[in-house]
Symmetry: C2
Subunit: 356 residues, 2 copies
């Protein structure tokens, strides 16, 4: 007997071909069906200046390999994000390689002669104008921590010298703590923070004691390689997560974006057999060359790819997140009743029109 | 300036080569250093009858590709585990292929002509003696739910008709609930269950209302593909997790083991571009053939690979888990203060001696 092809149908990106005799039982829509029904106004255009187009050398059979990275918006990690734009505009990334692929952890790319004990030549000089960003920018101070569950909540920051802004934050913090106490609100179950939530399209964790928020290490997030503290990395070496969310890296290293297309070109690369997944000398041939990295807004209009994310403040996203936490589509027999934030990936889609 | 090669040193399997001028600051041992210091008695031999040796066709450059799967012990999923031994002994798996690779989700292998809308030929007949296992075996009833934090706790089950055993469970449950109330114990933060813990080397979640326990979908866990409920799968199609833990599958599908060696041979396979990551007709050439699957105890003594896991009831494991949740080794500046269960992988090692 043939069974439906929906073996392990969860998380499907498209609906598998159904057969009349194998029709799924009637049930609630899947998370992806909910996304498909989203009204146009629930989609938010990603600014072209936040889109990086990273072109890898073609694959073994000549197939094109393009990876699209969405850079993180204000208020997170802007010093490093600006450095990445500086590297891209200086074409510094052109000709670097993927040097490290560690299973269930990260893929890392950079100058093979930089930060590498196996360096064969001289490292290329860094471009002018890079900022040295301090560790305190791994997280941001919140001006107002939202009540959990869908509260509208712009996250704001103060300049260090802006005492009026800072004292407003302190007042807000006190007011929020009082409110929490009065309401006895319970936080979602996150082992790594007091509360996780989505803000402006990004997964964020918060600490209500220090009143801080920070982006979290989910699959496909992009971060900045660094040496030992106090080094925070310049942006010359970047990595992406290719396994279970390494949340212990949160607030220990800068996150600057996420991969929104072409992830499979990195996640399926051969693993390195050296320490930390670096390719050993015998494996230098496995290093994937990066032909170029460009900011989409620097490309000719006709060549600019355009992307949208599903507003995390939209009703559709709330329904989608609920469906991820409580799968009621036909394959499932027992909804989980919860989900961790990295199991609710923010939907991103490519749009037909060129950038604004 | 060259910086140490310890960029993203977290989770390193070995210590990167250190240079005198780049010596790490003094700090607490890393999780891996703690494992290296484990006394021999903390390691538990995995029975050879629980070890599957899956040999893939050699890689593109003729490199051998062997994947080792540890089957799950009593009391979990034993009906399916026994079926898998039946398939292996009938050599039914020999010549099947990897048919599905879905990024950040699963790799799935089976008969390409079984459960496949693109089937080119007839599916092979199933071996005799397979059991049809019911959905209630996705979890087990606990005879005694442990106090969190390192309580010794053999998990036991009752036969449905064993009323004496069942009433003992009910009494124990009541006693446990009273104990919980008296102690006001707090559960670790798991969005998917009341409590997660390790039992006999495996990550387990528990529900204190229904008094059940079940294994959880972490990276590298192996499960049984199935059709729509009430089908529970025979074991003819297996999958492993190659991304963030899809915990919503817990209790919706049977877990039967985990990959303890050779994971990279599956996780780095090219992704399928069809629905659910199945290879499309154009991509049939990407299907990786599985040459053979054998139970280690069925191999000649000299050919039996031997493995040990770090006892999850050992002091070393407690220190290791604590270090995973609170990284104090040199790379880290801020310990997380917690970890989810899938971010505490159970250490497994190959041992030199042949099986017992």
């Amino acid at each position: 007997m043939r069974k439906p092809s929906l073996i392990l149908a969860a998380l499907c990106l498209v609906t598998a071909p159904a057969r009349a005799q194998d029709a799924a039982p009637e049930s609630a829509p899947s998370p992806n069906a909910i996304i498909d029904m989203a009204p146009e106004k629930a989609w938010v255009r990603i600014p072209a200046s936040d889109v990086l187009v990273m072109t890898l050398e073609p694959g073994p059979k000549g197939d094109a390999r393009t990876v699209i990275i969405q850079l993180m918006p204000v208020p997170f990690s802007q010093g490093w994000v600006e450095n990445i734009r500086t590297f891209a505009r200086a074409k510094w990334y052109d000709g670097i390689t993927v040097n490290r692929v560690q299973d269930n952890y990260v893929v890392q790319w950079g100058d093979p002669n930089y930060d590498n004990p196996e360096a064969e030549g001289e490292a290329r000089a860094l471009p002018d104008g890079l900022r040295n960003v301090s560790e305190r920018h791994y997280s941001v101070v919140l001006s107002r921590v939202p009540i959990p569950e869908n509260a509208p909540s712009p996250i704001q920051t103060c300049a260090a010298e802006d005492t009026a802004c800072l004292s407003k934050i302190i007042d807000d913090a006190q007011a929020f703590r009082d409110q929490m106490r009065a309401r006895q609100l319970r936080f979602p179950n996150d082992p790594y923070s007091h509360q996780t939530r989505f803000a402006d399209g990004w997964p964020v964790a918060t600490d209500l004691a220090s009143f801080q928020a920070w982006p979290v290490h989910c699959y496909g997030m992009v971060g900045v390689g660094r040496g030992y503290s106090p080094d925070t990395g310049s942006g010359a070496e970047l990595y992406t997560v290719i396994g279970h969310a390494p949340r212990h890296l949160d607030r220990n290293i800068a996150l600057v974006g996420r991969i929104v297309e072409g992830m499979e070109h990195l996640s399926s690369l051969p693993r390195g057999s050296g320490a930390l997944g670096f390719y050993t000398e015998d494996e230098f041939g496995k290093r994937t060359p990066i032909v170029s990295v460009r900011i989409a807004s620097d490309l000719p209009d006709a060549d600019q790819p355009a992307f949208e994310y599903l507003s995390t403040e939209s009703d559709t996203f709330a329904r989608y997140a609920d469906a991820r936490a409580n799968r009621r589509d036909p394959f499932f027999i027992l909804p989980a009743g919860g989900a961790d934030i990295c199991n609710i990936p923010v939907p991103v889609r490519r749009t037909a029109d060129a950038a604004e």
